[in-house]
């Protein structure tokens, strides 16, 4: 038996409500942390950082944010791209206006500003649901991109209309700007993702998370047990916005360095993050990681195998990617709404019994 929970009983309520009640899971979690923090930084190179690891880390933060809103609280949003743009532009304005203040603080404040903006766009959710809310957030998406394109103040009146991240350091090491080393980019994103994951997990297992899930599952019943739908929904929008804003700030300052809003934060981005949580698993923090990894890895794998290995045309490989993602979305939506996270859970259940299935 590889995976076991027998003989592994929780004896206290705190032990029972911890994140990884099963020892084996806990050890694996520590192992992942050790590899991520102590091993990868020494082996990472530019290709791995830029093509896979850094985008994965940043998208995972965005996916956690969106999952809180959609997966936990049941409020649809198609505005993720625009909300990431808020984080990016807030970060840019802060970096240029207060060059002496730590970039870490700027990124956090950008998250806070995005939280406020997203909460504002969440107000209609008190009246409208489902499809109509999706349309309202879609409007937010287009409005925000238009705003950052139109109002020159946001890009400091630069001639190109782009924003560029100046050099900033943390503990003396460059983390933004073109001369940043791969490990430093990776590290700062990893730290933010680790905190995002822990905080999101804590919030979703406690009273806040139960309020959100109650609203998602049945808002009438949620009200009858004393949940104020206004504050429950808006808190989900705010916290979701906080994480999405941080991911947008990192995407601009650490990953891309230079951003043109329509290109970096267009509607495709909203769908990309939404696909991540659908494929990864709605209402699951682990699913947010899995979905982000999947959507980042898929095009890289296809490109390496089909274009690099079999000599396919690049455009053809890109089309195949669309087809695969589209098909998977349909499969997951119909057959497994809880995504990869659920498949993982089922696999674990099987393993737990293996080799004696009965």
């Amino acid at each position: 038996m590889i995976y076991r929970e027998s003989g592994d009983f929780s004896e206290t309520y705190p032990a029972d409500s911890q994140t990884f009640p099963i020892k084996f899971d806990r050890y694996r979690y520590y192992a992942v942390l050790v590899v991520a923090f102590l091993i990868i930084p020494f082996f990472i190179n530019d290709y791995w950082a830029n093509a896979i690891l850094v985008p994965f880390l940043i998208y995972a933060i965005a996916a956690i944010g969106l999952n809180i809103l959609v997966g936990y609280c049941g409020q649809v949003s198609l505005g993720t791209g625009g909300f990431m743009a808020v984080g990016a532009y807030a970060c840019y304005k802060l970096m240029t206006a207060f060059p002496d203040i730590s970039i870490v603080l700027h990124i956090l404040i950008s998250g806070g500003i995005t939280a406020a903006v997203v909460t504002l766009f969440g107000l209609p959710s008190l009246r409208i649901k489902g499809f109509y809310l999706a349309v309202a957030t879609l409007a937010a998406q287009f409005f925000l991109v238009w705003l950052f394109n139109r109002v020159a103040w946001f890009y400091n009146y630069s001639a190109s209309g782009q924003i560029n991240a100046p050099d900033r350091t943390v503990f003396g090491y460059l983390v933004t700007g073109p001369n940043t080393e791969a490990w430093a980019k990776y590290m700062i994103c990893l730290v933010f993702l680790t905190f995002a994951g822990i905080i999101a997990r804590n919030m979703t297992r406690g009273s806040l998370g139960r309020k959100w899930s109650a609203i998602r599952d049945m808002d009438i019943a949620a009200e009858i047990i004393g949940v104020n739908p206004l504050s429950a929904k808006l808190s989900a929008f705010a916290i979701s916005g906080f994480f999405i804003g941080i991911s947008g700030a990192l995407f601009f300052s650490v990953y891309l360095g230079a951003v043109e809003v329509g290109e970096a934060f267009g509607i495709q981005k909203s769908f990309l993050v939404l696909f991540m949580i659908i494929i990864g698993g709605l209402g699951s923090i682990f699913g947010s990681f899995a979905g982000a990894a999947f959507m980042v890895l898929l095009p890289v794998l296809l490109k390496n195998i089909l274009v690099g290995g079999l000599g396919w045309d690049t455009a053809l490989a890109a089309h195949l990617e669309f087809i695969i993602v589209g098909a998977l979305i349909i499969v997951f939506l119909i057959a497994e709404p809880h995504g990869l996270a659920q498949l993982w859970r089922i696999a674990k259940e099987k393993l737990r019994l293996w080799p004696f299935p009965h």
């Binding site: 206290t12 009273s207 009858i224 949940v227």
Partner: protein, 272 residues
């Protein structure tokens, strides 16, 4: 005999307190439909109050008025000696009124434990930072409220299914989980809309016993809607009878059973 403002002792020796909730001349209309027509009645501290009547009589509508889902066009709701302004359901809940629904309203995506834990939400107020980092109050109140919930699960004999997703439970158990969620809130007044509908005899007996025990052990005042007359006669202290939105009877089970208007209303109406 029910005009006394203060407590009294019933024929079977149960002590009933003063008026807790009073509905005064309630009228509720849905467009042209008058669901409740000028009804007044009260609910007293510590009693089990039944609301009966044929289908469509307006019983659920009455509970919905009490719990704040509907605002009556006319009439006043008095709670604990004060006139209640029009309130949202969550505000009513925070006054210590919990309920269950005729059609079960559980959170299907959550486990039994989480469903019942939601009943404690009004007793939990850890700040956002404490929740984010899971230290101090958030952790403490989770444990404290978990203990309360475990006692409720134990009381209703559903401890063994605490980790089961409610969507996998059979109907009878779902009803019990819904009662557990309402009980976990530690309500002063508990409203039950047909808690035994669709149950077999044995399940009904269990449920009756739970309702009596809740009333007995926690002193919870209970207002319930029920179609099964034998159950109503067995467990309730006083009964309100409704028909076509009007009140046609109010009194002890014995009074009501011998009331001609009530007998007429029930004649020819098929009930299971």
């Amino acid at each position: 005999m029910f005009d006394q403002p203060e407590s009294f002792v019933t024929a079977d020796g149960r002590t009933i307190g003063g008026v807790m909730m009073e509905m005064k001349n309630i009228t509720l209309r849905f467009g042209g439909v008058v669901a409740i027509k000028d009804i007044s009645f009260d609910i007293r501290e510590g009693e089990i109050r039944a609301i009966i009547g044929p289908n469509g009589a307006g019983k659920s509508s009455m509970l919905n008025v009490i719990s704040g889902f509907y605002n009556p066009q006319d009439g006043e709701v008095w709670y604990k000696g004060e006139r209640r302004p029009s309130m949202k359901p969550f505000e009513v809940a925070r006054q210590g009124i919990a309920r269950t629904f005729q059609n079960i309203a559980l959170f299907e995506g959550m486990s039994v434990l989480d469903n019942v834990m939601t009943g404690r939400l009004n007793h939990m107020n850890a700040g956002i930072m404490s929740q984010a980092f899971w230290y101090g109050k958030a952790q403490r109140e989770e444990t404290e409220n978990r203990e309360v919930v475990e006692r409720v699960l134990d009381f209703l004999e559903i401890q063994h299914i605490r980790k089961t997703p409610v969507s996998r439970l059979p109907y009878g158990l779902k009803k019990r989980v819904e009662l557990a969620r309402a009980l976990a809130a530690d309500p002063k007044l508990l409203l039950l809309d047909e808690p035994m509908a669709g149950m077999n005899v044995e399940e009904k007996e269990d449920m009756s016993r739970f309702i009596l025990d809740v009333n007995d052990e926690f002193g919870t005042t209970i207002a319930l809607i029920e179609h099964d007359m034998s159950v109503v006669m067995d467990i309730s202290d006083r009964v309100v009878v409704m028909d076509y939105g009007k009140k046609i009877g109010d009194g002890t089970p014995t009074d009501v059973r011998s009331n001609q208007a009530v007998i007429d209303a029930y004649l020819g109406v098929a009930h299971d």
